[in-house]
Symmetry: C2
Subunit: 324 residues, 2 copies
Amino acid sequence: MTNIKEIKSAHKRLKGFVRETPILNSPFLDEIAGRKVFVKAECLQHTGSFKFRGGWSAISAIKHDERNNGVLAISSGNHAQGVAYAAKSFGIKAVIIMPEDAPTLKIDNTRKMGAEVILYDRLREDREAIGLKVSKERGLTQIKPYDEPLVIAGQGTCGLEIAIQSKMLNISEADVIVCCGGGGLTSGIALALESEAPKLKVRTAEPEKFNDVALSLENGKITRNNSLTGSICDAILTPEPGKLTFPIMNRLCGSGLTVSDDECLNAMYLAFLRLKLVLEPGGAAALAAALFRSDQIKGDSVLVVATGGNVDTKVFSQAIKNYM
Amino acid sequence: MTNIKEIKSAHKRLKGFVRETPILNSPFLDEIAGRKVFVKAECLQHTGSFKFRGGWSAISAIKHDERNNGVLAISSGNHAQGVAYAAKSFGIKAVIIMPEDAPTLKIDNTRKMGAEVILYDRLREDREAIGLKVSKERGLTQIKPYDEPLVIAGQGTCGLEIAIQSKMLNISEADVIVCCGGGGLTSGIALALESEAPKLKVRTAEPEKFNDVALSLENGKITRNNSLTGSICDAILTPEPGKLTFPIMNRLCGSGLTVSDDECLNAMYLAFLRLKLVLEPGGAAALAAALFRSDQIKGDSVLVVATGGNVDTKVFSQAIKNYM
């Protein structure tokens, strides 16, 4: 089980490699939310999302000999880029398993980061089986996206930064809303804040129909989504919370918040206009919750984690056109 | 004449009020430029541009009694917002003189920041005369946009941050390219780096036909642009460098760089895609120079100051559509 000691150890390993992302605010956002809104801009992290933290944390903890064999990840999204870039900075090989219908740009970007991409047929092949086979054959260490203690510890370093930065901003008590997929970042931040800033309470933000964490927290047990497709928030669509992450969230998090895809697009526009930040839909869910679910939030201040900015240009262009 | 002592004094006054903006980078930008590109993201400063530094620096230095009477600025752009927001944070009145044909959004934003906006007719009225009259009548202190020692000192704090951050990033020798209008930021940064990091050499970036600073540096004397309209880089269009800023730039800066409007739009797209930053055309000129004038730059690294992000939504949307 990940604990604060492991997060602090990851924090030491990451020092000088990870970016300490800024916390931004705007009086215009405060006006909409009816309270002060602080935005932790993890979209400015290396590779455009917080995933670099977990990838780097995991790779940096592998024993030297094993690490030199390389790593493997199964992902078509932010985890792929986080692991590929972290591996590159260690000078080791990364193999990324991606569906062959993933956007060309994402495949190209992952390759440009020096990773070998193995494509699979989403309908006919089992990606987990491919991952296992390739890992074994080549002696690669597989880096899971969230249900992995070292990854949770890496994401938790974002929480350590929040604890320090919130003191400097005089935020003593507030909800900390985190865009949530499998729960790696949410559980990591929750553990960090439990130890370092216990009056900051973590809550999740998820899109409608994919609020498995909110439902699981409500039911007190892992609860699966009915749908598996149908939201633009691709970065945070998971069928259910992780087996390692859920017990942590269940113990430490407040009730989950749910927002619509349109509210995420609106939050993207407002982040563009007021903060000069580029967010992807899934990375804007927490800001959307702070702005448009203010009746479900208490206190003078709210802090949100804007988790990523790897958005398709067309989607972004549409978002800012719709709301301008 | 502004000197390093005044910049350090401004830095002390601004502590806790100004944002220390991050320096970002991306391997994809390095590849285009053929060297490491570091981007100081001043678009993330309060009000979306570096202008807050100078505004706050000037207001914080006014004697208490005088300050309470309020301040005045003549600007339709970033200086207006910087001064208005700085005045608001001091709880004092700001009067901003804007042309009546300025975009409604800019007028509204300035008002929402608590400023009183006085509109004038660009063709029939003299804004300087209005500014003088209103200042006198109401006892307001006028804050000039660049030819004012306290403003130059405030902008220079950006240079102090660059000196510290570049050491942490192991950048020992590099060109520092600054998007340049009247030269307040450029001369402030040049003074700060002369003292704190003399191997970082400041150079200006300007749009074609508005490269008055590049021409002035070449001629060794203040040289005026032939054109006064016709570029999308509205934030940095000035007829000629300032009387106070030019001697500093002439003593400390390398040759000026000139880029096209299209190159600025392309740089905006790349900042969107690779850094998750929103830049305005004038705020992207330095990045455009680093990416597309690499033959005129030496060394393994280049640092650019992305000065602002207050871009019209339509212009931004067009930029990312054109280049995606």
